[in-house]
């Protein structure tokens, strides 16, 4: 009973922590989405100068350096340049840019998997490059990206717990406060935290699955082996 009571009393602060976690995740994903698409388009349609000197080094760097190191670099490194940024802001920059590097790979793969004929056809009816990308390429690429993007969503959501290390009071830090206040209920409280993360990932992935289903192109579904007839499998 004591344990239940403890959870009940800790719930408001855990939920406010959850709200911070969700807010962080939305910022990470949004920054990563917008920048990721731009990077991917640059990788596919941009000049060599852009590709070799800006996009590739950016992607390499943010994919090669551990998330925690990025967080420290942005948070503690900023004071070196005499810029004052909050832990929250540092987290958004570090994790958002990191997600952009990963998301750009997702979008680049999707864009490149669309047949060259689509672009040709769009240009042949008089669309300029921007219109072709906006109306023909991206709508198809984004649909193809949903499954891999669901993966990125789960990773980013869970990695938001690293913001703990620079002092952002997200879900895990709220949990840690309760553990510290009540002396040794670590297993119980962290289990509740784990459960909340699980629910967030689960709900998010379910939502994306519904989205995928809603926007699937009729006659163009990716068939699973089970749906195929024997003849088609040969």
């Amino acid at each position: 009973m004591d344990q239940l009571n403890l959870i009940w009393q800790g719930l408001p602060s855990l939920l406010s922590g959850t709200l911070v976690t969700i807010t962080l995740t939305i910022y990470f994903l949004a920054l990563g989405f917008i920048l990721g698409i731009l990077l991917a388009l640059g990788r596919v349609y941009g000049s060599n100068f852009l590709k070799l000197l800006i996009i590739r080094p950016f992607e390499r760097f943010f994919r090669a350096v551990p998330a925690l190191v990025l967080l420290f670099l942005f948070y503690f490194g900023s004071s070196f340049f005499h810029v004052e940024i909050s832990a929250f802001m540092a987290a958004i920059l570090a994790m958002g840019l990191r997600s952009a590097a990963y998301q750009s790979q997702i979008f680049r793969g999707a864009i490149q998997s669309i047949g060259k004929g689509q672009m040709k056809a769009a240009r042949s009816i008089g669309m300029n490059t921007f219109q072709s990308i906006r109306y023909i390429i991206l709508p198809q690429a984004l649909r193809l990206s949903i499954p891999s993007w669901a993966n990125e969503y789960a990773v980013v959501l869970k990695d938001s717990s690293l913001a703990y290390a620079v002092g952002v009071t997200e879900l895990l830090r709220q949990g840690r406060y309760i553990v510290a206040r009540t002396f040794g209920n670590a297993l119980l409280i962290y289990t509740v935290c784990a459960l909340i993360y699980f629910i967030l990932v689960f709900v998010g992935n379910q939502t994306l699955k519904i989205l995928e289903e809603k926007y699937k192109i009729p006659g163009y579904e990716i068939k699973t082996k089970k749906d195929q007839s024997v003849l088609e499998r040969i």
Binding site: I125, I217, G219
Partner: protein, 252 residues
């Protein structure tokens, strides 16, 4: 004397060291159909994409009526919107319904109001016999139906000229007829067309002019009658003989 819609002068195109087009000149008059034939790898498709600048030529000039397409100051998107193109593999926009495939050019490029764009598109889809398929998606259609949608997509822009790049080569034999029928109908109502095709029956019946290309140059050009029965160049005779055996068209 019908006026000239398309005029190409000395068009050159190189891919790396490979010279694909070595000085092509020809013209197409209003309402006429020109069929380009020739062995594969001869530059027929490249010539078509040079016309609408999907692959800009290295040298030479091309005019659409009085506008020089190859002039760098010409707004190529406006030119392209008045030159339709039909591809071998249809290239319909897979994420759009049949109706949207046809009207998206009007909506995005010509900024036509939705109601009018829909009316025009419906008209063109009826013309190609697909008025009942407007809500279908490309992957749900047969190859012949897809190709007819792509013809409707080209027609919707009200083009001065339509380029056909082997429009029936990717189709099952029993689906070729429905596409050729639509093209024949277009020729009858006076659409100007440049067609790369090996359909000799179609060429013989519909073409005003046949161009035989080989190795990047025009070997011979003339009326179908002359080309089929009385061609000057032995190479033309040989090719036409072989291709007629393969694709038929002798018994027209």
């Amino acid at each position: 004397m019908p006026n000239v819609i398309l005029r190409a002068e000395n068009v050159y195109k190189k891919y790396g060291k490979l010279e694909v087009l070595k000085g092509i000149s020809f013209q197409v008059k209003q309402g006429e159909t020109t069929v380009i034939i020739g062995p594969s790898g001869t530059g027929k498709s490249t010539l078509l994409t040079c016309i609408n600048q999907l692959t800009p030529p290295d040298k030479g000039h091309i005019w659409l009526e009085d506008t020089e397409i190859t002039n760098p100051n010409t707004d190529i998107n406006i030119i392209r919107s008045s030159i339709g193109m039909v591809f071998q593999h249809f290239n319909l926009f897979t994420h759009l319904s049949v109706l949207d495939n046809v009207r998206i050019g009007l909506l995005v490029v010509k900024k036509t109001p939705m109601k009018e764009a829909t009316e025009i598109s419906m008209g063109k889809l009826n013309e190609v016999g697909l008025g009942d398929k407007i809500d279908a998606y490309p992957a749900e259609l047969s190859g012949g139906q897809q190709q007819r949608v792509s013809i409707a997509r080209a027609l919707a822009m009200n083009p001065k000229l339509i380029l056909f790049d082997e429009p029936t080569s990717a189709l099952d034999p029993e689906l070729i007829g429905e596409v050729l029928n639509v093209m024949t109908k277009l020729a009858e109502i006076g659409m100007t067309m440049v067609v790369v095709s090996h359909e000799m029956g179609f060429a013989r019946a519909v073409a005003n002019d046949i161009i035989f290309m080989e190795k990047g140059v025009i070997v011979e050009e003339g009326k179908p009658d002359k080309m089929f029965n009385d061609s000057e160049n032995p190479r033309t005779r040989e090719f036409l003989h072989k291709i007629t055996e393969l694709y038929g068209g002798k018994t027209e």
